[in-house]
Assembly symmetry: C2
Homo-oligomer: 290 residues x 2
DNA sequence: ACAAAAGTGTTGGGAGTACACCCATGT
DNA sequence: ACATGGGTGTACTCCCAACACTTTTGT
């Protein structure tokens, strides 16, 4: 079996009290062997721990999430968030990074370990943890959801299988139809993934307000207009191009000129920028109220 | 944020593939019994899942956290955050609520289920999840930390034992000595609890900026001055009493007059208020920069 | 010439800061 | 009378929303 009773406990192991905090033991019986390895699977409720990923990008002026087709029951054939088990010797963030690379081939900027080249690669951060006892009908699974923000990518690759993964507009996945209140998305996501996705989207929407994270949706070099269209897609609003321009170029450290210009959007050539070093925006970008 | 909406999953279980998402199985061998119970402990890495609590309050003009003395090794005799195992049939939020009641006797306002009587009881929300493989030397433990904000309480009761639990100023626990940079707190917290506490404190500090959560630190009825002293203690700054008064009384839904007055702070009698229905403050309270 | 997108200037209002000043109590 | 904290008024500043206007390309 792959789990080689890892966790080498330094020194003392004579006391295998499971609850670290107050010396309470989960198992009611008090008859377990004190000479056993550093954990006793029967002494605590066994949980499986997974990471699920909310990977967001902006494609064709819409906020999209990466979903994969489930090949197994339950929810066979339904769309779900990508994810997988946390390995025995692996930190939660490492598991999320591994899954993200497996799923998208992205290189990852960890939130806590800023990469040398700002503006490229994806942003990854922990989102929240979901542990309802009934969220997976087969067993007790606690899922540590992570949020990833990625620039527009060519095409998802999920184990080489093309039609088992796709970028889907979150509006379509969540049924947040804006105008007329639709009851349900055409095909709801598996498990509690709709809720996880909604939480991730809300986090992204609020976080680009006071941080420079919106640049994670952009290619390494981008124009102010492209950045504005990111904000518009994520928030689902339209912004005044003039005020937006003044705001982002006037915030020190947000954008640094990359030198060239481009006309890929048509019209007058636009300056190219890279993401600057600043992570926190002060004052923040304000989402229009109405 | 993490609402406990139980998504009811249809109950088929004939396939015991462990990785829900992509049909990957953790166990390399492919010889497990398809007729077995809904989980196979050897097919996924066994984790213990706990909840740890960052319980904050304001006492004598200082932000304090609840810590308990560890009676077992490792870290025997050191202070730690209260916490405990998540039970087999228990949601994460329920486990945190249970631990909080056991530890403090508080009744709990769940963030997502606003209680009928605003302003009383504690606030509880999920904070983050910590799963470094080495965070507990005995075994693999993933801890879902929660943040609780409580009004000043008489005295902590930890299993009846008085001197095994206390409210400690976070400044003392974290060694954030303001003026002169001290190296380490006198006695660092057990495990990675210093980091968890720091994250919880930072969350509280930023959250009272844009939400009405500061009232969770106050008794059911309180004065504007008392609320101001909460902000001052949590942020470690001093605020202009005049502008603060105008700001909080002018934000609709933040405070509602409770009718009476009090002179418990000396000076001119102050109006008593209750927390209003508003949860989000717009515009937010601003933390002074310097 | 015209459309389209990039940028700049200007103006009015809302909210924050700083601080002078008044109010109601206890001692 | 005086100290203490509660509460109001006012002037100044900064930022933002709105919008008129100019610039530079493609067709």
């Amino acid at each position: 079996m792959p789990l080689d009773t890892a966790r080498e406990a330094p020194g003392e192991r004579e006391e295998v009290v499971v609850d670290a905090r107050e010396g309470r033991v989960y198992r009611q019986e008090d008859d377990y062997d004190h000479g056993m390895p550093p954990y006793d699977p029967s002494a605590f409720p066994p949980f499986a721990v997974t990471v699920d990923l909310v990977v967001l990008t902006v494609r064709r002026h819409a906020l999209c999430a990466l979903v994969v087709r489930r090949g197994e029951s339950p929810f066979k054939g339904r769309w779900a968030l990508p994810g997988g088990f946390v390995r025995d010797d692996e930190d939660l963030g490492a598991a999320a990074r591994r899954e993200l690379v497996e799923e998208t081939g992205l290189c990852v900027h960890d939130q806590d370990a800023p990469a040398p080249m700002p503006g490229n690669g994806a942003h990854l951060e922990q989102l929240a943890t979901y542990g309802d006892p009934k969220r997976d009908p087969r067993m007790r699974v606690v899922s540590v959801a992570h949020l990833a923000l990625a620039p527009d990518l060519p095409a998802p690759r999920a184990g080489g299988d093309a039609n088992s993964a796709r970028w889907a507009p979150v509006e379509e996945l969540l049924g947040e139809d804006g105008s007329v209140e639709r009851e349900e998305p055409a095909e709801p996501l598996a498990f509690d993934h709709a809720r996880i996705l909604a939480d991730g989207v809300e986090r992204a929407r609020s976080k680009i307000e006071y941080s420079s994270l919106a640049t994670a949706f952009c290619p390494p070099e981008f124009t102010v207009g492209e950045l504005r269209r990111v904000y518009e897609a994520v928030w689902g609003v339209s912004l005044d191009p003039r005020n937006f321009h003044r705001k982002v170029t006037g915030t020190p450290g947000f954008l640094v000129p990359a030198g060239g210009t481009t006309t890929r959007q048509g019209g007058r050539p636009a300056q190219l920028f890279r993401a600057g070093g600043a992570t926190l925006l002060n004052p923040p970008m304000l989402r229009p109220e109405v």
